[in-house]
């Protein structure tokens, strides 16, 4: 059995990578990917804990979370497509119509 610490280590690595990408990247699609990383790191944690503490609550929760992530990705990409049509770019630094 793989010790729980490794799962948590994997999850926090993924989370940190996602957070890093979120802060540094300007491209909208990359940002979406980073958000997926964040969500899925949480999912890994949920499934791992669920396996160690024998009930399936965590796994069910992870399923919900995946469905939510799918919906979020759908909305997010739709917004990105709309932005692209409007500005011809998805570089978020260039999208500043509502900025000072």
């Amino acid at each position: 059995m793989i010790p729980l610490e490794l799962y948590i280590l994997l999850a926090s690595t993924m989370f940190t990578i996602g957070l890093y990408g979120l802060v540094t990247q300007k491209n909208g699609v990359k940002l979406m990917m980073c958000i997926e990383l964040l969500l899925n790191s949480a999912n890994i944690n949920l499934v791992a804990f669920s396996a160690y503490q024998p009930n399936v609550n965590g796994q069910v929760f992870a399923l919900f979370s995946i469905a939510l992530a799918a919906a979020e990705a759908g909305v997010g990409f739709a917004i990105l497509i709309a932005l692209y049509r409007l500005y011809g770019t998805i570089d978020l630094d260039n999208i500043k119509a509502m900025r000072w």
Binding site: T24, L92, D93, R99, W100
Partner: protein
């Protein structure tokens, strides 16, 4: 039964106002016949009420409005004679207006506004409380503004309308202050009012006058007098009246005879008990009236504009009425009868004179008497009706004006024997001047040779008819109605809970009335007895008290004035060419023509230096200090925000960074706190 329809007296003209306003454009002659019918209907109702109530009934209807106030109708003798006069004169003026305004593109507007004017005046007259009276009072002011500025494309007419509105507004503010003061005083008494009684109702005011402090009464009286001064064109607020000639002549006739300027006199008459009870109240009225009578008459002497002569004569005659009320300090309520009698008589002959002037102007197309002359050859009817009006105004024996003005001068004499001769002297001088300027006008217009090329035709019968009817009244009203009128009006205040003797004690008129008259002997004692008779037994008869020369003096004054005018201005006596007179050389004539430089002083000096200077200072303080402080504060806030808002970059990465850093800081702080053992 007519009393049930009393509301129609106002409702009919209001209806005519609405009809003319919205449908007048589609009706022949601007719907003028509607206005005529409406005021005629009001006249019928007034006559019906008169036949039902004469001689000793009053009508009082009232319903609640809001809080302490009500709306109501109070028709007592004072209101009723005013109603009859206003409806009658206004009906005739509207008939005349149908001819005069024929063809004017604004005729519908004219008739709508004229109907509203009549309605406001009628509402003012039979209002049963001061608040309602004030509302109609303001409506009258509004209508005068609209009608004086009827030809609003003419800059002088627009300016005159503005002047009339603003000048009367000065008085109105004082009037409102008086009302508020009176209300406060009455409310402070905590009266136990019966159902249907309200604080500002006239009967309630009359009944509780004795309970108000005398100094408060004086203040209230001065406030109300201020309103009356503004409305009735008394010195120093008379300046708007001559300028009000810019409106159509029918409007001048309405303003001067029936609907507007009489409101001030009516207000003082209506509140006579209050003025009587207020120390110095009637003194102020007498002073203002007597001074104005003489002051305006001198200006009437020199004016070349036929309508301005009439306007100054109106101011002067209103001064007579005011003085007539003011000398009521000596003769009590008898003064109300005398003064209102002059008001009614004056409205007949002044309406007549204005309509005659309108008839002349209609033909000659100018107001300048220097360009008229010889008009009498072509306008016989106008000439003779105007002669009747002029004789009446001059106070020629047996004409209406003779009876009314004579009586005012006589009671002023009684006032003189008891208190002060100044009003009497002023009024006699004014009466001489009245006769002179009236006939100066008549002679220069109708006699002599034609001084310009004007249309030589008589006016149509729709205009002459009212002239003839008014001439009959100017001729016969005085002799026919005087005795009954005095006794009827004298009974006016008997309908209320009033004791003039008691009021007189408050007002300091202890010398007269039933309690009075032990003061003097000889002539003075006799005059004082007459004063007592005037109040006591609902007077009217010529007291035997005055010496014969006092009785005869007004006749001498009138005839002497007319002869003086004839001497100077009648071409049969003296060849005189008014067209040569410009008034530039003679300093006195120039001063009178300029109205004692009042315009120069008021507008030129007072307005432009004092008022404008004060306004500049206030403006500077307002901009630099009040606004400046606020502007500095808001500018500082704006500048600060300019810096702070840069934080909101709109770049998501920055937000996320801040978020992460925040969480990190939070975690570090909590961990440290746990290490130390705080949590």
């Amino acid at each position: 039964m007519y009393a049930d329809y009393a509301y129609l007296i106002v409702a009919l003209p209001v209806l005519a106002f609405l009809l003319c306003l919205f449908l007048g454009w589609h009706l022949p002659r601007g719907g003028g016949f509607i206005t005529v019918l409406a005021t005629f209907g009001a006249l019928i109702v007034s006559l019906g009420i008169f036949s039902e109530t004469y001689p000793d009934k009053i009508i009082h209807q009232s319903m609640p409005w809001f809080a302490d106030f009500n709306v109501g109708i109070l028709i007592d003798p004072l209101a009723l004679v005013m109603l009859l006069m206003v409806t009658f004169v206004v009906t005739l003026i509207h008939i005349y207006g149908n001819g005069y305004m024929n063809g004017d593109p604004g005729a519908a507007r004219y008739f709508a506004e004229a109907a509203l004017f009549s309605a406001s005046m009628l509402g003012l007259v039979y209002a049963d409380n001061l608040l309602q009276l004030f509302i109609f009072w303001e409506l009258v002011g509004l209508c005068s503004y609209l009608l004086i500025g009827f030809w609003y494309r003419k800059p002088s007419a627009a300016a005159a309308a503005k002047k009339a509105f603003l000048t009367t507004r000065v008085g109105d503010v004082l009037f409102l202050a008086g009302i508020i003061l009176l209300y406060n005083n009455l409310a402070g008494l905590n009266l136990a009012l019966k159902p249907g009684e309200y604080l500002l109702q006239f009967p309630v005011i009359y009944a509780h006058l004795t309970q108000i402090a005398p100094d408060q009464l004086t203040l209230i009286a001065l406030g109300l007098l201020g309103g009356a001064i503004g409305k009735s064109g008394q010195f120093p607020l008379h300046v708007w009246l001559p300028d009000a000639m810019e409106g159509p002549t029918t409007v001048s006739a309405m303003i001067h005879a029936a609907t507007m300027v009489t409101a001030g006199v009516y207000l003082v008459a209506r509140m006579f008990p209050l003025f009587y009870a207020a120390p110095y109240g009637l003194t102020a009225v007498a002073a203002v009236g007597a001074f104005t009578a003489l002051f305006a008459a001198t200006m009437g002497l020199t004016s070349f504009d036929i309508k301005r002569v009439l306007a100054f004569s109106t101011v002067s005659q209103l001064g007579f009425m005011m003085a007539g009320l003011g000398v009521g300090a000596a003769v009590g309520t008898f003064a109300v009868g005398v003064s209102i009698f002059h008001l009614i008589g004056h409205s007949f002959f002044k309406a007549l004179l204005f309509l005659c002037a309108g008839s002349v102007i209609h033909a000659v197309n100018t107001n300048d008497m220097r360009e008229m002359g010889g008009v009498g050859k072509y306008m016989k009817w106008t000439m003779y009706t105007m002669l009747i009006g002029s004789l009446s105004l001059a106070g020629f024996p047996l004409f209406t004006g003779f009876f009314s003005k004579d009586e005012i001068i006589v009671i002023a004499y009684e006032y003189g024997t008891l208190i002060n001769f100044l009003p009497y002297i002023f009024l006699v001088l004014a009466a001489i001047l009245t006769a002179i300027y009236t006939f100066r006008m008549w002679f220069s217009v109708f006699t002599g040779k034609e001084r310009s090329d004007y249309a030589k035709h008589e006016s149509p019968w729709v205009m002459l008819g009212p002239l003839v009817i008014l001439a009959v009244f100017a001729l016969g009203f005085g002799i026919a109605a005087q005795e009954d009128f005095y006794s009827y009006l004298d009974s006016n205040f008997e309908h209320y809970d009033l004791d003039f003797a008691e009021l007189g004690v408050i007002g300091g008129h202890v010398l007269e009335g039933e309690h009075g008259a032990p003061a003097a002997e000889g002539e003075q004692g006799a005059a004082a007895a007459k004063g007592a008779a005037g109040e006591g037994e609902a007077g009217g008869e010529e007291g035997p008290g005055e010496p014969w020369y006092i009785q005869i003096l007004p006749i001498i004054v009138a005839i002497g004035g007319i002869l003086t005018a004839a001497l100077f201005y009648w071409d049969k006596v003296k060849k005189f060419d008014p067209s040569q007179v410009t008034g530039e050389k003679d300093p006195i004539r120039k001063m009178l023509l300029k109205g004692y430089y009042q315009h120069e002083i008021m507008t030129g000096w007072f307005a432009e230096t004092v008022v404008y200077g004060t306004a500049l200072i206030c403006n500077t303080i307002d901009i630099k200090l009040v606004d400046g402080w606020l502007n500095w504060l808001s500018a500082w806030v704006m500048g600060f925000a300019q810096h702070v808002r840069k934080v909101q970059t709109g770049i998501i990465q920055n937000y996320v960074t801040a978020l992460v850093l925040g969480v990190v800081v939070l975690v570090v702080v909590i961990t440290l706190a746990m290490e130390v053992g705080l949590v």
